[in-house]
Symmetry: D2
Subunit: 150 residues, 4 copies
């Protein structure tokens, strides 16, 4: 199992009046890491763009569910935050992306999971993950997140 | 038990390129409903502003955890979306806010829960909910959300 | 000449770490007022929905230019901010929307103007404002904004 | 005169339902470039962090005015957009930051200027730019933007 590490810059406007990244903006940071990792757009250095996706693709991914635990406030910095990302579960037409969101100094700010459904763009219906996708996802598989507060 | 119904306008910029309210923006809509309901700011028509809160208060609330299931895409409309909101659990220093997010036509777009911790502004430490708060919260108590996909 | 008054709720996440509505979020508030006024979606109370628009219409409007002066910080409030809006100029295929953005207590927070171009959805080219549109816009015409700092 | 070139990632949620970076989000991209360039946070490779700034500094900068011309739609890409930035005017207590916002392929998407006022954090009043700041700003001085549509 290998985690993908994606640097994600925090924007000044992600902070709210408490001076920390707003709870909803945290999901935006995770979304950026997910897109950087999974949307195929030609060759990339990381080699991890294993899923079709993006608005023009023949398939797209739908966010079906998210769960996030906020563990420490995340402030603004010139250095990007880091999202560590792996696959916690692969189902028939869906998968769970798991994340740890770290501050630039390595503090764990949040732990989260997103359930994603593969959708056929023509029919708008879920479609099964194919063998190529399964093989690629397998390389990123790890243990599901254990949430403390559930 | 009584649910609070809060109309929350969807903004054009909440939509992403799929033409639906972005997954992270959904949490912003819930946050607006939560603030409208719980932040005390003088008398209000709804009478439900039961918790201290807001950036200048002696206590503030911290979002510790969120869980959301996306059930139908939410588009843009001149009419506001509606957040129905109730209390699913009251603990020592924390509570769970539960929501159903409805489109202007009444379609269930999302189901969610937020765990909130009461924090003393001076010490920055969690503080117990007091009796007044418990009494007020009791009026909004209902069954916790049952998430389908967990 | 008549100004349109549009209440626009400020969201908690519009504030940045200075505790005021972020400079870019101010344009979002103006956008909401503009859409509420100009996008035709059936009958409305205000009667001012004079332009075609919205993502499904046969014409759409393109923002070509914006200018904004920030005059006072805008904080968070349970009461909505108010955007006063009028037409400062009508050209062949374009118009200038002028705004004053007021806090809930009536303080002038910003003064702004947006140049909008009417675009034919099929061709993607600018198209002339028609007579009906000109008549409707004329009712909202007023003096262009005079910016202090230009 | 030297322009500073700042890569600024476009986020998926910056796009609105037209599939392009929303007009207000464009100002957020410019803000990120401005902060990366001007907020002093220790040594940086670019050597251009010439102004005090940031929420904890003894001075802060206030955005007094912005003007932006939108020249081409900006889409989503794995590659960052690029903001080219220079100083168009230095006044007593204020300055104008000028920008050209380029797509990853180098297309000019917007041209903009921001008037910034230096403010003393204690008094909340404008304060004069000091000699060090003037020297540093001089290295970035260039011609003010000429807006086409004014």
């Amino acid at each position: 199992m290998a985690r993908v590490r994606v640097p994600v810059p925090v924007r000044w406007s992600d902070l709210d009046a408490y001076g920390h990244v707003n709870n909803a903006a945290m999901l935006t940071l995770l979304e950026e890491a997910r897109i950087a990792t999974f949307w195929a757009k030609g060759e990339t250095a990381s080699g991890t763009n294993v899923l079709a996706g993006g608005p023009d693709a023949s398939s797209y991914t739908l966010v079906a569910r998210q769960e996030i635990e906020y563990l420490a406030p995340l402030g603004h910095s010139h250095e990007p935050a880091v999202v560590e990302l792996w696959i916690g579960r692969v189902g028939g037409a869906s998968l769970d992306v798991c994340y740890e969101l770290l501050s630039p100094t390595g503090q764990l700010a949040a732990r989260a999971a997103t359930s994603i459904v593969m959708v056929d763009a023509d029919s708008g219906r879920p479609r099964r993950l194919d063998d190529d996708e399964r093989r690629a996802l397998a390389e990123l598989e790890g243990d599901p997140i254990e949430f403390r507060r559930r």
